[in-house]
């Protein structure tokens, strides 16, 4: 039996999946400052869940912002390719992917299950999960509660600042002026949706649009984006895992190709146990 692992180290969350024909185990944990130690720990946890040991893994692909910090990976692949692959597998009807991460946002155009074009914002915190994280902290609301709370809004408060720093200030002012919390949060979702839609529009948006990343878990943001686009979007059951799933699937393709061609498989010499010695 062949097993494939995908490790996606994002700026905020680290995700690991183990697959054979289907998904066997997945682990999601926060990315701390020590990527390498963390990569080991989450990998071990995923192996335990799948009742496997590291030597059972046929091929391991790392992706995401911290992919170079996975010394035991057989290959590193960019998150654009991995997200494209993951979405094409989970939601074959998708033609456009919008990934809203903790520290960047990406739009990807899909054709035949591959990325053919993409846009990205990692220069400015506005339009990324970071915007909501900062605002949530300022409002004293848990990030995961923002979506639900915003659905109670009667009238979204318009947020005029684009910059996260200034918007956070504005939010406090609105609160002190007596604006209702749900109305402010709805306003924040509208602001970030406008920003993200502006980025995504640089691609020719084709339906279906799949929403992934932490942002896809925020129902208020999903609704705000749908309102901007004028149609509903599709969201995978676990939107955080698409990159890791895509990584595992791309690993499977690499192994398959090598087998078909009869070429030897290039694998990392570093093993998980050794890797724990790295600091």
């Amino acid at each position: 039996m062949q097993y494939f692992a995908g490790v996606d180290i994002g700026s905020t969350m680290t995700k690991v999946v183990i697959m054979n024909q289907s998904l066997l185990a997945s682990v999601i944990g926060p990315t701390g400052p020590e990527h390498r130690k963390l990569a080991n720990r989450v990998m071990e946890e995923a192996l335990k869940k799948a009742r496997l040991s590291f030597k059972d893994i046929t091929y391991l692909v790392a992706t995401g912002y911290g992919r170079i910090s996975v010394p035991f990976a057989d290959k590193q692949i960019t998150e654009i390719s991995c997200h494209a692959k993951g979405v094409a597998y989970l939601l074959p009807e998708a033609r456009t992917v919008l990934d809203i991460g903790g520290q960047d946002s990406k739009g990807i155009k899909l054709k035949d299950g591959r990325a053919v074009d993409f846009v990205m914002n990692d220069k400015c915190a506005a339009g990324t999960g970071r915007f909501l994280e900062v605002a949530a902290e300022e409002l004293g609301v848990k990030l995961e509660d923002m979506g639900k709370l915003s659905l109670k809004a009667k009238k979204a408060v318009s947020i005029s600042n684009t910059c996260t720093v200034f918007a956070a200030q504005e939010v406090v002012t609105k609160l002190s002026e007596g604006a209702a919390l749900p109305d402010i949060i709805a306003g924040l979702h509208e602001a970030i949706a406008t920003r993200i839609y502006g980025m995504l529009r640089r691609l020719k948006i084709e339906r279906e649009v799949a929403l992934t990343g932490g942002g896809a878990k925020n129902i208020g943001l999903v609704r705000a984006l749908e309102a901007k686009m004028g149609f509903t979007v599709v969201v995978p059951p676990e939107p955080l895992l698409t990159g890791a799933i895509g990584a595992a699937l791309l690993g499977r393709n690499i192994v398959k190709e090598a087998e078909e061609k009869g070429t030897p498989l290039a694998r990392s010499k570093r093993r998980l146990q050794e890797a724990t010695l790295f600091t």
Binding site: P33, C124, A125, R130, T162, C163, T164, V165, F166
Partner: protein
């Protein structure tokens, strides 16, 4: 004796300058706080108290800045660019390029010999390149804003940043602290980032010497020297860089008050 006041209500600091006979006789600077109206009154009162004057003795008041409309004692509100241009022409008649690093915005503009603004650019909608950037980092490093400049000059091993965004720079600074980088090296790196942003603004407006830097950011000696390196040009630095707009407002007020001496009762008090 004719006395006039220039008031500048900025997003972070409020300033008042009292002039008489073409000379500054008193000035005061204080944080703007949450109530601009009260601050506008207080900053004038403080400046007046220093020279034992009261509002009755004042012939004309010009207000300027982000919160100028809150200065109810003013006879007139004038745009901050006009005031700054005027203040610059008074302090540095040779200055043709002005960098104003404020608490919320950075502006770069060109002035002619009369202090008239001929070109202008503002860091809109983004905290990168403004004094706000420094405030954010000062909080992360737990140091006083006013100590940033001196401390950064001690840097021997500058830590460069990958981002211009104030929010991302904050997390980057936290990571560098966690990795054991020295505060002065982090600050030097941030000054470099800010200076690069300001440099690109200056280049868009066009650098014409002499160049001067004003606003609260000009009090950060580390930032000033970083900008000097970026622009490869020495900057003129006012003694009190925060009060340039208020000074310009006072000069404009004086121009109004002096010819109107015979008219009297301008302020009805």
């Amino acid at each position: 004796m004719i006395y006039v006041i220039g008031i500048d209500i900025g997003s972070a600091f409020s300033k008042a300058v009292i002039m008489s006979g073409g000379k500054v006789v008193s000035h005061h600077v204080m944080p703007s706080g949450g109530n601009y109206k009260l601050t506008a009154e207080a900053v004038v009162k403080k400046a007046l108290a220093k020279v034992k004057l009261s509002l009755k003795d004042i012939d004309y008041i010009v207000a300027t800045g982000y919160g100028a409309s809150n200065a109810t004692s003013a006879n007139e509100v004038v745009s901050d660019l006009s005031c700054q241009g005027r203040g610059i022409a008074y302090l540095f008649p040779s200055a043709r390029t002005v960098i104003d690093i404020g608490g919320q915005f950075t502006k770069v503009f060109r002035v002619n010999e009369k202090g008239k603004v001929t070109a202008f650019l503002q860091s809109e909608k983004c905290a990168a390149g403004s004094g706000r950037f420094l405030q954010v980092i000062a909080r992360v490093l737990q140091i006083d804003l006013k100590d940033i400049g001196e401390l950064s000059l001690k840097s021997k091993n500058r830590v460069d940043f990958n981002t211009g965004c104030a929010v991302f720079a904050e997390s980057e600074a936290i990571s560098r602290v966690a990795e054991g980088a020295l505060k002065e090296d982090i600050l030097a790196g941030l000054h470099r980032t800010l200076a690069a942003k300001i440099q690109s603004m200056v280049e868009r407006v066009g650098l014409k010497p002499d160049c001067t830097v004003v606003g609260g950011g000009a009090k950060d000696i580390g930032l000033v020297s970083s900008i000097e390196q970026s622009l490869a040009c020495q900057l003129l630095l006012p003694q009190e860089p925060q009060i340039v707009a208020a000074l310009g407002a006072a000069l404009l007020a004086e121009a109004k008050a002096v010819p109107s001496r015979s008219v009297t009762n301008l302020k009805g008090g």
